[in-house]
């Protein structure tokens, strides 16, 4: 499981079925983030990488995708350190993890 259900369930308890809307937004925006991230990394736009990795860190943490959030945080730190060399490797990990999270979420949504 690539998502931590504790936090998700708390949100679900409060929101009921509307909770799915949030997951759907996550599923829509994350691929966007990843495209933007890849573009920014390819032209070494460090500020943009910093910003998007920060967003990934926050949005994934809020739906319990903890590993993805950690990777986002690592990338953010890498950008802060101007370590552009490490971008590629981390972004590959982020893409993989995002795919796994997406799959898990799709399954989770089915349970509603």
């Amino acid at each position: 499981m690539h998502i931590d259900l504790n936090n998700l369930n708390m949100l679900k308890d409060i929101l009921g079925n509307e909770f799915v809307d949030i997951l759907n937004v996550f599923l829509e925006t994350t691929p966007d983030y990843i495209v933007q991230l890849q573009e920014a990394a390819s032209v070494k736009d460090i500020d943009k990488v910093k910003l998007i990795s920060h967003s990934i860190k926050g949005s994934s943490a809020n739906i319990g995708a903890n590993q993805l959030s950690i990777l986002g945080a690592e990338l953010e730190q890498t950008a802060k350190n101007n370590d552009t060399e490490a971008f590629e490797d981390l972004i590959t990990k982020i893409v993989d993890e995002a795919n796994s999270v997406e799959a898990d979420l799709q399954t989770y949504i089915q349970t509603f």
């Binding site: 929101l15 943490a61 809020n62």
Partner: protein, 694 residues
């Protein structure tokens, strides 16, 4: 006290990440709030202006405009400083939390967001601001709301027995900031009587209770108690043991106070909600009775200088607003245990029941003086107010309520008689002084008729050529039995009795006539400085009086330099700017006297139609210190950038003259060039100092 229903509450969320934004929105809508979303700081500002939300949540890191700048910008937009601003920030980033508070946030929430804690926090923030809003009504009061809403953040790692907490949490718990604090250290200042409550809560948590809500008391540095409320969430490990507890702490002492106050409504003034005279007397009586070990205490009684004038100029409503703001400011600047009351229309009293020594009292008075002198905002403009304050110290001055108050009051009267804007300690001879003043006042009424009032002239020279350029007219009273009396003794008296109007008229007329004489003698570039008092300034006939004095002569108006003090200029800036503009329109020159001694506001100075500033002698006197030199240089640079003429007063030494020489200073005045002297002597001075070329 009724709290608004959630459905009336608008919350603005400024967050660039759609997932977080939507989640927050949905959670808050679920609890009945109206939520407005904005994607970045700039949009957030627009949404703030458009919707005027009751609470704003801001993400720290955003493109276009980051969360800190957004918070700051919103704080600037809302004048009342009551808006709860919650910052979303990364987990455990204490620096960014402290930064958020610095920029004006009232609380923070870390990501990943703990959803049930979020709704609690928001309820809290709204409750604080709501209670404050009802209990107090003006902006200065609500500065406190920020402080009230400011939460401490703490986390206890149960495995390592280690506390991580924000600076404000350490402050709330009154323990030194320490990154290796244990739970016992952290709770070491909790009132021992309340410790079992905390132990009970931890026991409950151990048996699986996941939420914490508890209030207890903490002993402060000064021995008083602070009421703290903690909210927390418990995390458990796989064996169901506590792994950590995360939570917030809030100072709710003021809420306790509020509740107590309601019980005593009868003893409170309805306008400012301060205790009234009766409760002040009661508190003082109690403090005096409890003072068995004869430690020091003090009573301060003060009123606002020229408050009637403020009421007249701004209207009673605004006058009331000033009183309310002042009352709240007093609440804010006094310490826990001090007692503030409104004992008359614009009269307030402060009881300091416990002071360590006279040094501490002096520090407190200095702080009061600084805080009270800061301007009030009325109609979006700064209003500068000064106070006459009398201080009576017990047990030294007296030990019974009536006498302590009486003494503070006579010190206040004395402060007022010396021109106001001061804090005066009671002295036993004050009653003699008062009698003395009374006889002086009677004499003053006859002084003009008896021709005892004289005008003296103090030379002014050109700072470059050192040639005579003019003089300042100064008033003297040649008393038949007491001899020459200087203005700072009798001018306040003349002001308070209104005689200053006639005296002022006499000085202006005499000085203008005399200057014309000097012109006809060939000294035709001599200028004359004439002081205007605050009382004259509030007189509608001022302009006519000056104009009619001038019309009796052939002197062109630009030789007349009308001087007003900085504090007078600022006292009713808008009205004064208008009068000064009209005088300037008639060709008179305008100077700001004693520059730098009042609450100088560059922004205002710029809007005043002035030609000249006079650097106060106190700065010239301090030129031999680095600080004095820096102030003088600053004033000169300011004058240069505003293109103002500068007169340096009080020049006595070569070094002082040398300092100003070659800088942006136009005119010198001081004993080095000549003392104030009667007109005959001044004519001689003109002849001897630099005879005119015939």
């Amino acid at each position: 006290m009724s709290i608004s229903e959630p459905e009336n509450i608008k919350i603005l969320i400024i967050e660039d990440d759609p997932v977080t934004s939507l989640a927050v929105t949905k959670v808050l809508e679920k609890t009945g709030h109206i939520v407005i979303q904005a994607n970045n700081g700039r949009e957030g500002l627009n949404a703030y202006t458009e919707h005027k939300p009751n609470l704003v949540i801001v993400d720290a890191m955003m493109p276009v405009m980051n969360g800190y700048d957004t918070i700051k910008a919103i704080r600037n937009l809302e004048h009342r400083h009551s808006l709860p601003l919650i910052m979303l920030t990364a987990l455990d980033d204490i620096d960014s939390i402290n930064k958020a508070f610095e920029f004006g946030a009232t609380d923070f929430v870390t990501k990943p967001i703990n959803w049930s804690l979020l709704t609690q926090r928001i309820k809290y923030a709204l409750r604080s601001s709501q209670i404050e809003k009802q209990f107090r009504k003006t902006q200065s009061q609500l500065i406190y709301a920020q402080r009230l809403a400011k939460l401490g953040y703490w986390e206890w790692d149960a495995k390592l027995d280690k506390i991580t907490a924000s600076q404000s949490a350490f402050e709330l718990f009154n323990v030194p900031i320490n990154s290796n604090s244990t739970l016992d250290n952290f709770l070491s200042r909790v009132l021992p009587k309340d410790m079992p409550l905390i132990q009970q809560i931890i026991t409950d948590a151990r048996s699986g209770q996941p939420h914490i809500q508890i209030s207890f008391r903490v002993i402060q540095q000064d021995g008083h108690l602070r009421h703290i409320e903690c909210l927390g969430e418990v995390s458990f490990d796989d064996d169901d043991a506590i792994s950590k507890i995360t939570g917030s702490a809030q100072d709710i002492s003021r809420l306790h106070k509020t509740e107590t106050l309601i019980h005593y409504q009868s003893k409170h003034d309805t306008l400012t909600e301060l205790p009234n005279r009766a409760s002040f007397n009661e508190m003082l009586t109690k403090a005096l009775a409890e003072n068995t070990n004869k430690h020091l205490g003090a009573v301060l009684i003060f009123d606002i200088d020229r408050f009637k004038q403020i009421n007249k100029n701004l209207g009673q409503d605004k006058g009331d607003d000033v009183l309310i703001s002042l009352a709240q400011r007093l609440n804010r600047i006094t310490r826990e245990g001090d007692f503030v009351a409104r004992i008359g229309s614009d009269e307030f009293a402060i009881l300091l029941p416990h002071i360590e020594n006279s040094n501490e009292l002096n520090l407190i008075i200095n702080r009061f003086s600084n805080d009270l002198n800061a301007p009030f905002v009325v109609n979006n403009k700064d209003l500068f107010v000064s106070y006459s304050c009398g201080i009576s110290v017990f047990p030294n001055d007296a030990t019974d309520t009536e006498t302590v108050i009486e003494h503070a009051n006579s010190a206040r009267v004395s402060a007022k008689a010396s021109g106001g804007n001061q804090f005066t300690f009671y002295r036993p001879d004050m009653n003699d002084d008062a009698l003395d003043m009374l006889s002086l006042e009677n004499d003053l009424r006859k002084a003009l008729i008896n021709k005892e009032i004289e005008v003296f002239y103090q030379p002014q020279v050109d700072a470059k050529t050192l040639k005579p350029i003019g003089c300042e007219a100064l008033v003297r009273w040649r008393h038949p039995t007491r001899g020459l009396i200087v203005p700072n003794v009798f001018v306040p008296l003349a002001e308070s009795t209104g005689m200053i109007i006639e005296i002022g008229r006499f000085i202006a007329e005499t000085a203008i006539k005399q200057t014309e004489k000097w012109h006809s003698m060939g000294y035709d570039q001599i200028r004359i400085g004439i002081n205007l008092s605050s009382r004259q300034f509030s007189q509608s006939s001022l302009i006519d009086d000056i104009q009619s004095s001038l019309q009796k002569t052939n002197l062109p108006s630009h030789f007349i330099d009308l001087e007003i003090t900085e504090s007078l200029a600022m006292s009713d800036a808008e009205n004064n700017i208008e009068i000064l503009s009209r005088l300037k329109g008639l060709g008179f020159k305008i100077s700001i006297d004693d520059f730098g001694t009042g609450y100088s506001s560059l922004a205002y100075l710029h809007s005043f139609p002035i030609d000249t500033i006079k650097i106060d002698r106190s700065f010239v006197l301090n030129l031999d210190t680095l600080q004095g030199e820096a102030i003088a240089k600053t004033i000169l640079a300011m004058a240069e950038s505003l293109n103002l003429e500068v007169i340096a007063e009080g020049i006595e030494l070569d070094e002082q003259q040398d300092f100003f020489f070659g800088k942006h200073c136009d005119i010198f005045q001081g004993y080095k060039f000549g003392k104030p002297m009667p007109h005959k002597e001044f004519t001689q001075w003109l002849e001897q100092y630099n005879p005119p070329v015939k």
